[in-house]
Subunit: 223 residues, 2 copies
């Protein structure tokens, strides 16, 4: 296994190169999908003259993808941790409060990314690609804040059917990822007014919370 | 504008060529997306030696895409029309009956396509591509059965906020398209057992109906 540059503390120049590669990769994958983008194209788009730039900084394409996912998941965690702490202090947690704690940090993160951004559409590509779907699930749901949030999940009156639970989770994931990707694309390409971006994101967030509460309740009580 | 071969009644050979092109296009677009597939690639995949085969049979790429969408929408309509007729005869229509009439024909069509199939993933690509999203909406929602179904839509107690109505429709569309695309991909690539395909589709359909009733009710009564 190749020893990567990250074994020693990376130089500022190395960090900048990594950042450029991650930004270029995110944008290319968001716009073209994974099957159609080579790591050489990523290196060129990042302005790297060295043909093996990606392998040097990330070893493999999958590690590059995981690095992008981890960066965004960590940023969302920053927003979620204080919300989780508040729920832990409150004691009893309603379904709506719980779902809000899942969704709102995602929305805040999209707002802080600004317009244009590519992460939402990058994420939409990962959930379509089965081999990469697991990376995005791990990156988002195995963070410190989510582990604490799982313990606070409101319990159901009757025993949860694991198949229905998995279906509900899959539907929620697809809904959040694709609605966010759609808004991000609309803002980036001018179909939605970037001046109203923050309001648009918050309104989407409110609708997602309401919709997910309804979807989840219906499935887990009726299916 | 070019006079296409469809002006006169097409020969059997011409129809076979059109079919081959449509099948090749559907599969390539499903697996790679629209940005990454040229119409020349479609022609080659369909075994056409003539480099302009697509233009000859369809004039443009968009017409080819619309032909694919129309073919599937017509097949779904065949399933939906008797259900709509039954609802019209019944008089009062519940939300669940109405949603069932939207979803079940889609499920039946996926079952009749068999395994492997590509239409679900093709459709998922069209809803991601903003210029093509409108084609897929038109193809599906402007069919004879849907026009009749719209008239039977259960009314809401309070006036519908058009923005929330549009949001609800967008969420339902994304949920159905992406959940179907995911199952289709799982069956095609062996992550789900093709021997149990029919049961898997029907179970997904039942869950979608339940989830959509919950999502729609929550949004239109609470948002």
């Amino acid at each position: 296994m190749k020893v990567s540059a990250a074994v020693a503390s990376p130089s500022p120049r190395s960090t900048r190169a990594r950042d450029k590669l991650m930004h270029a990769a995110e944008r290319l994958y968001a716009e073209h999908g994974f099957a159609n983008v080579s790591i050489r194209m990523v290196g060129e788009a990042a302005g790297q003259r060295n043909k093996s730039a990606v392998q040097y900084h990330f070893s493999t394409r999958d590690e590059l993808i995981q690095a992008i996912l981890a960066r965004h998941a960590a940023a969302m965690d920053t927003h979620r941790i204080p919300m989780v702490a508040a729920l832990e202090a409150a004691g009893e947690v309603s379904l709506q409060e719980w779902i809000t704690c899942v969704i709102e940090p995602t929305i805040e993160h999209h707002i802080e990314l600004g317009t244009p951004s590519w992460y939402g559409r990058f994420l939409a590509q990962t959930v379509v690609e089965p081999s990469l779907r697991e990376y995005s699930v791990q990156a988002h749901l195995r963070t410190p804040s989510f582990r604490r949030l799982e313990k606070l999940r409101p319990s159901r009156r009757h025993e949860r059917d694991p198949e229905v639970g998995a279906r509900s989770a899959a539907m929620i994931r697809l809904l959040v990822v694709h609605m966010c990707a759609e808004l991000e694309g609309d803002l980036a390409e001018g179909r939605a007014d970037p001046a109203g971006a923050e309001q648009s994101w918050r309104r989407l967030g409110a609708h997602l919370i309401t919709a997910i509460c309804g979807l989840s309740t219906a499935l887990l009580e009726n299916a």
